[in-house]
């Protein structure tokens, strides 16, 4: 009973939020907060100030304190002016979210947030909260230029994921009122399956759970060329001398001739594993293969990829695992 009640309340709250937000589904970027989407209500500190002001006014009346009147009205006027300043701090704020890096389920999906201003107004102490009200980020735009900030949102499940409904809020400058707005940015990130599984890697000297062919064992890798750095590359492969010379981060590539061949097959996995566990195990192996710079062939129902050992191939494989079946 309690739980249904709870869920009903949650559903109502969600619906109310949807209505408040006045947007359906993910929004195109950059999101510029218009006036009608910024709400303002006093905080508890603000109510405290109101109470104190009432007491101040009463004592000014009772003791006939001219200066008491003056300062009560001054602080009250400042409070009202600051409501507009707080509102103004949010209106016209432009936000865009961009997924960065790779993300596995169970980790946090990283986003780069670009905070800018649709006009020349500087923004201060902007906070971004997740749906469960936990604080993700506090940022400023000191002047009209854009600022970058990074936020992480936990990725629970594999598949396509959006940052979800975020609360953009501020209590600056005085903290007596809170201005907030809801955004739901369209910044999809692909969440790969969580790498997990105890099974040994199916490389040469094959086991009954997987098979692999070893073409050249432990041969020296042959240098094949340079390519641009990607965030997933191992630091040991960066051409540091080149980087020191002209600042460009390049990665050494080695010829595939020297690599092992790994066959990662869905069908070779023990029957006891369910779909998610299988995907996790395959992802685990893919990561191992990449560390070993192996040529990988991935076999899953409906697709056979490889053999290849380029980075692009690894990502294609991970993508297939992420979107396998009825993933969102």
């Amino acid at each position: 009973m309690q739980t249904t009640h709870q869920s009903l309340r949650q559903r109502l709250r969600l619906r109310f939020r949807r209505w408040m937000q006045r947007v359906a589904g993910p929004e195109a970027q950059p999101i510029v907060l218009p006036q009608r989407r910024v709400y303002v209500l006093p905080t508890r500190a603000g109510l405290g100030v109101v109470l104190v002001l009432v007491v101040m006014l009463l004592s000014a009346i009772n003791y006939n304190l001219s200066l008491g009147y003056a300062f009560t009205f001054l602080i009250a006027g400042t409070g009202v002016a600051h409501i507009l300043a707080t509102w103004r701090n949010l209106v016209g704020l432009s936000l865009s979210f961009q997924a960065e890096g790779e993300c596995f389920a169970g980790d946090a999906a990283a986003f780069r947030v670009t905070l800018g201003s649709a006009n020349k107004h500087a923004r201060h102490a902007i906070q971004i909260r997740a749906e469960d009200a936990s604080l993700l980020l506090t940022a400023d735009t000191a002047d009209s230029n854009s600022r970058y900030a990074h936020l992480e949102i936990p990725a629970l499940r594999r598949g396509r994921m959006q940052p979800g409904r975020l609360t953009i809020e501020t209590v600056f400058p005085l903290g007596w009122v809170r201005a907030w707005s809801y955004v739901e940015p369209d910044a999809p990130v692909l969440v790969y399956p969580q790498p997990a599984g105890e099974l040994p890697a199916p490389h040469a000297g094959s086991t009954n759970t997987g098979s692999a062919q070893r073409v050249h064992a432990f041969a020296d890798e042959e240098f094949a060329g340079l390519r641009d750095y990607r965030s997933s590359d191992s630091p040991s492969r960066i051409a540091w001398r080149r980087a020191a010379r002209d600042g460009a981060l390049l990665v050494k590539q080695f010829d595939a001739q020297d690599s092992e061949d790994w066959l990662l097959s869905w069908n070779h996995l023990p029957a006891a594993l369910d779909t998610e566990a299988r995907l996790s195990q395959l992802a685990q192996w893919l990561l191992l293969a990449r560390t070993a710079n192996a040529r990988v062939t991935l076999e899953i129902p409906g697709a056979r990829l490889g053999p290849d050992h380029s980075d692009a191939h690894y990502y294609t494989c991970l993508e297939h695992l992420a979107l396998f079946g009825d993933a969102p």
Partner: protein, 674 residues
Amino acid sequence: MNDGMRANHNEDMKQSRAESARATLPPSPISRALALQLCAQACITLWPYAMFQPWYLSALCGLLIAWRAVLAWQDRAAPPGWLLIPLAFVGLATIVLAYGNPVGRLPGLALLSLLLPLKLLETRSTRDVRAALLLNFFLIVGMFLHEQSALIGVGAALATIGSIAAAARLQRGALDMKGSMSQSLRLLAQGVPLMLALFILFPRVDGPLWGMPIDAYSGQTGLSDHMTIGSISNLVPSGEIAFRAAFNGPVPPQRDRYWRGPVLTRFDGSDWRQITAFPRPQDFYQSAGRSWQYTMTMEPHNQRWLLALDFPTASDNGRFTADLALTTIQPVRKRIRYNVQSSPDLLVGMDEERWKLQASLELPSRSNPRTLEQGRQIAASTPDDAARVKAAIAFMQKSRLQYTLSPAPLGPNSVDDFLFKTHSGFCEHFAAAFVVLMRAAGVPARVVTGYQGGELNPVDGTLVIRQSDAHAWAEVWLPQRGWTRVDPTAESFPSRIADGVAGSLPASDALPLAIRNNMAWLRAMRYRWEALGNAWNQWVLGYNAQRQMELMQRLGISNPDWKLLASLMASSAGLWLLWLVWRHFPKRRKLDALDRNWQRFCRRMARLGLPREPWETPSDYAVRISRAKPQHKDSFASIAEFYATYRFGKASPAAQDIAHQTAQLNELFNRLRS
């Protein structure tokens, strides 16, 4: 994924979220800089209190603040909570030591001023800082209970700026001291118009809403309603201002500036007191001859009488006693203003009642035998009352009396001692001796206390009367003239009236700096300062229900009631809000003709399915749409070039160029339509 795994997952997730939250937040909301700013802020808020409180209370506050500042400086935590309880008891004990009891206005304020350092000592969270800031606001109003001078006003303004700055800094740690101050000033500046409007329009209430503590008016000085020898000379060392008078017309000469206070008739040998009689109606005397109209601004003295020049005929405040003194029903406990009219040449008391004349002749029979004897001699040797007055003055002039602030002590027969032994006295000695002498000679006489003189402030043209101008003189009743003023001090020492107290006293007498004559620059500075003080009193502190009414009437509102004031208040607050919204509302950049044309072009192209991308330069855009519509290639190129040349170049387009381009656009749109 099975349930166990998911649970595990959630656990990890929470942890990672907690970590990320920790990473984005500073380790403690109260940074060292903020804690130090709060300590400085507490000092600013509390310094006016140091002027009114016993030093050891302020020292205790200072010690606690210093402790907190040192802890903050060394990045050490606030002391444990239990330590505050004994500290609070020490504070309470100090207050009881200072004031005798912990209840009342002064102890209450002292308690409040001690609460702020104690709160700072236990400040750990954002909430604590907010509470401390609210305490600051309380303290700002609290200091006005002590005093409302311009100086205290400045102190309160500083405290307000600092409190708002600290609140801003609490919200944004990146703000430094300077940044938070400028933020605070910006916000306060926006609040000032509302403050002014509400200050003027908020309906003022006279009198308290609830009872005041008994000690509310201690420390207000002035003449008392009875006189013993020595009571007036006690006032002279005080340079404090008693009241100010602003004349509507010429200022009366020095010899006419007798400010009438309590009239004392009953004498029991040492004490002079008023007699009680029915008050006179306001218009009992019509002004005749010369007449002065002026506005008095009286400092509070916690007594019931007001002052007016001899002889007041009309006043818009208070009522006249039978002796023509002006009194109020309630003691004067705050600065008040009233308008008075006086006629110096009026004949008063021609119809005086017999019993009062009788009372003006009574003398205690056993005291002052030598003076009584002297009076009888005067009565025997002169034909009428007027001659007796002259004879008494002559007698006193011959007695080689000394005018001094520090007369020799007198015995029980004080008048005898003064006239025949010590020969030294102040104005009350002269007045009392003269009245006793006259009564002994059979002439009805009484003592009048008040002030004599006053100093014209050249800066704002008001007459300033200080406690040091306190004076006592005599009135005698003559059958043809009624009550006639005789100033025995002036008769013996004419310089007392001509040059004020400072001119007639021997140089060895201690006088306050404010009333000394020989420091011209000091005087000039004092004039300026006091004129400022007067303006402050008149327009800021003295702004009460009466002044509000006057101001409204001057603005053409004949009968302002609270409803009208409330609607005026609401409309001015509304105007202010509009101004604020206009100030804060995001403004659309105003487009010039060049931009308007360009936007029109882009909109038209967008309707054709070729919107301009935000990153495209005009020429890039023209190239792209030319590919889609090659037949208008030349038009596109020329429109884009025209815009780019003038928008990003230095020259601005001539009116005919714009008109030409508008025509070109119209022509292009026509072609597109067909």
